[in-house]
Each structure stands twice: as structure tokens, then as C-alpha cells.
Amino acid sequence: MIWKIFLFLLLGFVSVAGIAFPIVQSPTKWYEFPFIIGLEQNAKIIFFHVPTAWLTVIAFLMSTVFSVQYLRKKNLDYDAKSYAAAQLGMIFCILATVTGSVWSKFAWGSFWSWDPRQTSIFALLLIYGAWFALRSAIESEDKRATLSSVYSIIAFLTVPFFIFIMPRIMTGLHPGSADDTNAGPIVDFKMNPSMQLIFFLSMIGFTILYFWMWNLGYKSIILNEKINKQLTRG
């Protein structure tokens, strides 16, 4: 119970701080954020957008790891874990896409401009979508678990290609891209300590939230399957 209160306070603080703390030209007080050229007030989305994108990747990774585990052990619990991770991954993927494109409307002038990161997250959305389509098409639990595990491993193998080829095919607009004119990852150079603190607190908070949701998610899937089994047996 204690950690739930802690998580509530943490995320509450991050939300309030992330939205309310002012951005000024030369920060002097601890609660003031620096002015980053090209980002300005829009920079505040980093506290919410980056964690969702981070969790999308974590969820995808976890889903693949549990898929491998399933193929090795043939235990349906692993499939439930993989499924729960993918469900959350899908949610965070949509959140990251939406927050990102809202931000890009104000920063770049349009909701979508096929920046490498946008294209990559679009590809990830497609993979998740295809994965759920595959799962819903199969009736038998074992077959569904096996085939979707195989598919998620193959899909995972395509990820490195996106990392390597995207920047060469399209020029990057995203902050932190290799050819970003403001140069260099913003996390290291452009943020002052207070901004970094809030940023990392937000990352930690969202990650804990994710693991909590995932834990509840896979347990409920397993329980659901067990209840269904009892119902069909009568």
C-alpha cells in the first residue's frame, strides 16, 4: 500500500511540476526551467511524451522476451505475460504517437511529417496491430500462443533495421536526431539539473506505473482463462 501512495505522490508531483514550473531565459531558482532554442514552452512535453515512448519500447521488448520463454517452456502463463505487455505497449504507443503529433503541430507546423521517429513509431503501431489481428484470428489457445510468439520474434528482428535505415532515408526533425540543427541530445546538454530531475522522476514514475499495470494485467488474463475453462467444463 505504501508504494502506491508513493507512486501517487510521485506522479502528482511530476504532473504539477512539469506543467506549472515556468520556463525562463536564465534560470536562477530551483524550480525554473531553461529556455531551449527551437523548443521553448513546447519543451514541457518531454515529461510525458518521452516516458510513454520509452514504455512502448520496454513493453515490446518484454513481450518478445516472454514469447521466447513461451516457445521454450510451452507454459501459457508466459503467453499471458507477453499478451499483457503488448496490450500496455499498444496503449502507450498510441499515447506516444498522439502526444508526439500534437507537439509536432506546434513545433513543426503539421501533425505528421514522416520524421524518422514518427515513421518508426508508425511501424511499431503496425506491428502491434498485426499482432493483435493475428491473435484474434486464432481460436485454439496453444496455437495462438505459439504463432503469436513466433510473429513477435520476427517483428522484433526488424527493429534494428528501422534504427539504421530511417535516418538515412528521411531527414530528422525530432529533437535529439543526428542532424538536429541544435545539435546533441537535449537530455544531456540542454536541460538544467531541475529539469533533468523532473524528467527522470517522471521516467521512474511511469515505469513503476507500467509494471504495476502489467502485473495486474497478466494475472487477470490468467484468472480469466481459468474461469473460462471451468465454465466450459460446467
Partner: protein
């Protein structure tokens, strides 16, 4: 004369979270017939497929061995003959073409005289060049026996061997089980008493539920 043996170690199979059977253990190390019986839906076909190495069990393992050496799963198909109602041969080819392709894909020589004598035994010799599409279901079933026996397998798995067959066909199958059981390990899964008459041992799946 080589020594083949078929061992099953605490086999368990579940579909999803539903247990089909568990704790099946046996060891067959000389030619003979093992029967599998049980009511519909008790997992006879599932067990026979697992024993034939087509499906994998949820837990436990099946070991086929040749002179004490385990046959790896990559090679197992050349030691196995399998007959069942749900086995389907290629409709667009004739019986002869089907058998010829099977020998080619198995990479074994196509023993024409053996196949011809089998065709003769199952009364299909004069129809061997007809497309399987035109066969009746009983004829298809008889063709499956030729498919299962043409490469002289060491393990023969028969799932409901006499379905769709007439009395004459059934008699041929019983004679065949008797003659094959002198040199091969035969497993028969069926509910018909006559099919199981030649068995040295019968495994009743009712006793392997939890």
C-alpha cells in the same frame, strides 16, 4: 535384424489449460502390438500423434530408438508409418504418382515390385493410374496403408485403421497387423473390439485422467 524400441516417459498433454491425459509411461522394446482405447474425445488421436512424433507433448518425452541409439526428430519420419481417417493424400495426383513423390521426398529408392504387391494386396493395382480425386473413401483409406508400409517402417501407427473399409478390407488390415507385428512395433488406436483383438497389451486412456 535391428532392435527398435519405443519409450514414453510420463507424457502429458493439455489443450490450453484443459488436461487431456497425463502420466503415460511405457516401454516397448520388441515387435508387437499396443492398443489404445478410450471413449471419444479421450485423446486417442492426440496420443498416437505424439507417439508418432508429429505433435509434441506438453510434458514428458517420447524416445524412438534403433539399437539403443535414439533416433533424432529430424530423421524420425523415415521410420514411421501412419494411417488415420484425417490423413489426406494429394488429390491432384494418381496413386502411383503420390507414392513415387513420397519416396522421392523421403530420399529412398522407389521399390516398384514392393509397391505393386502392396497395391495388389489392397486391390488397387488396376486403379493405380487414376487420380486420387476419383477414389471412394474406402479406396483412399486402403491407399493410406500402402503409403504407410511402402518404406518398411519400424514403427506403425494406426488410428482407427478400419474406418470406411468393407469386411474384406478389414480382414486384410487384421492380417497385416498380425504379419507386421512380427517385425515392427505396431500401435493401434481404436474403439472397435476387433481392431484391438491382436494386441499384446491395451492402454485404456480412462486411467490417465487426473
Amino acid at each position: 535384424m535391428t532392435d527398435f524400441s519405443l519409450q514414453a516417459h510420463s507424457l502429458q498433454k493439455s489443450f490450453g489449460r484443459r488436461l487431456v491425459f497425463c502420466g503415460i509411461t511405457f516401454n516397448l522394446n520388441k515387435p508387437g502390438v499396443l492398443g489404445i482405447s478410450g471413449p471419444n474425445g479421450s485423446g486417442k488421436s492426440t496420443l498416437i500423434k505424439i507417439l508418432a512424433g508429429i505433435n509434441s507433448p506438453t510434458k514428458g518425452q517420447v524416445i524412438h530408438s534403433d539399437n539403443g541409439k535414439e533416433i533424432i526428430s529430424e530423421k524420425i519420419h523415415n521410420y514411421i508409418g501412419f494411417v488415420s481417417p484425417y490423413l489426406v493424400l494429394y488429390n491432384e495426383f494418381s496413386a502411383w504418382e503420390n507414392l513415387n513423390y513420397f519416396a522421392l521426398i523421403r530420399n529412398i529408392s522407389f521399390d516398384k515390385s514392393k509397391v505393386e504387391s502392396l497395391l495388389d494386396q489392397f486391390l488397387l493395382l488396376n486403379r493405380k493410374d487414376d487420380l486420387v480425386k476419383a477414389y471412394s473413401s474406402g479406396m483412399k483409406q486402403r491407399l493410406k496403408f500402402i503409403f504407410a508400409l511402402m518404406h518398411s517402417p519400424a514403427f506403425i501407427f494406426l488410428d482407427e485403421p478400419t474406418s470406411n473399409l468393407d469386411d474384406e478390407g478389414k480382414q486384410t488390415v487384421y492380417n497385416l497387423i498380425k504379419s507386421e507385428s512380427e517385425k515392427a512395433i505396431v500401435v493401434v488406436a481404436s474403439n472397435e473390439r476387433n481392431d484391438l483383438a491382436n494386441c499384446n497389451e491395451v492402454l485404456d486412456l480412462n486411467y490417465y485422467k487426473r
